[in-house]
Symmetry: C2
DNA sequence: ATCGACGGAGAACGATCGTTCTCTGCATGC
DNA sequence: GCATGCAGAGAACGATCGTTCTCCGTCGAT
């Protein structure tokens, strides 16, 4: 097995286990077993558990961004693109492995003791809000109101993630989508 | 020191430390030092760390509920009461010890491995939504639309908590409040 | 075929943690 | 004044975890 596939297997296994049980509840041995990559190789690629976790979060950040990018690109109008983000969330919440947003969860567990984790979570949330800002700006909304609307949409999206994680239901995505529609109407983003 | 004050000191110390660093990063010795209660007494009152954590969360649940209750009771109209919840959040987010919602954080860390923690978090979030539902119903909104609006408001509140925890800013409370106002207007909850 | 470098399996190590136990002192009841 | 039981301080214990090390087999080069 070459280094690239070992790394991918490690990140896959670690991501799954961290999502399932949290970070500190997962031992390096469990990651080794789940990935089939030896401990020696693991520590060559990721010198510490913190490094592995941050790599997992960074890769997940990329996955999330491109997933949202793809979901919104499938629609034409800014309004439909914004709503597509919430449809994307609903589909995500429906996966049976879903147990909340990795960044919200990792921040809750480690944000107080790991600056690295806190920084990555912050960057992820900022990128979500920035993405909403771009979509809203594309509708012709002036910068000030666009930023405010984007912040509100980001709060909705994060609320859907937190609520869906805890309740284990897809409903929060639909509720957030409905609320987003109301906000878009009020801001006169109709197309 | 009698049992009641020992228990209170333990819950205070544990709550502060858990909020600050997460649950698993806090040793029982740290709780002992911070509370000034001996380990022996601690284990007499709370037979395990899990018991202590659940007691902390249950007490916090009460605190949160009564805080919201008090904040809303200070206003007359249903609309003002709903908005008062978000003002309450803003004040909370401004406290320098704020590091996110204890239930969202605890669920992220332990929801996957502790049924007890998951249940308490779920109950807390349900009670928040129920409270919104009562406020909205008091405005004369019919049950169906009232429940939908309450769910949307709950998503907003949870989103504000998650976002404020990660970004360390009070802004999400204001953005959520503005969004709530728009939703109330759209639902014709004007007084 | 022999040597040597490398990778895997898992034991070992040191630290930490939850929990329990021991020892000591003290206060209270006779 | 003395015995008795309780509480505190912290050592001890057993388990777990992150990390490193040892041993062994394999494979490629000469």
């Amino acid at each position: 097995m070459d280094a690239a596939t070992a790394e991918a297997r490690l990140l896959d296994a670690a991501e799954t286990l961290f999502d399932e049980r949290g970070v500190q509840a997962v031992g390096m041995d469990a990651i080794r077993s789940a990935s089939g990559v030896s401990l020696k190789r693991l520590y060559q690629l990721f010198p510490s558990k913190d490094d592995l976790l941050e790599a997992v979060l960074r890769r997940r950040d990329e996955t999330v961004r491109s997933g949202i990018e793809r979901a919104t690109a499938a629609h034409e109008s800014p309004r439909e693109r914004v709503l597509a983000v919430f449809d994307h969330l609903e589909e995500w919440f429906g996966r049976d492995t879903f147990r909340g947003c990795s960044f919200i969860n990792a921040f809750g567990e480690l944000g107080g003791v790991s600056q690295g984790v806190a920084d990555i979570a912050r960057a992820n949330k900022r990128s979500l809000q920035d993405h909403f800002a771009e979509l809203v700006a594309a509708a012709g909304t002036p910068p000030g109101p666009a930023d405010r609307l984007a912040a509100q949409l980001a709060v909705l999206a994060n609320g859907a993630m937190a609520t869906a994680g805890i309740t284990g239901s897809q409903d929060p995505a639909r509720h957030a989508r409905d609320a987003a529609k109301t906000l878009l109407d009020a801001a006169d983003v109709r197309s």
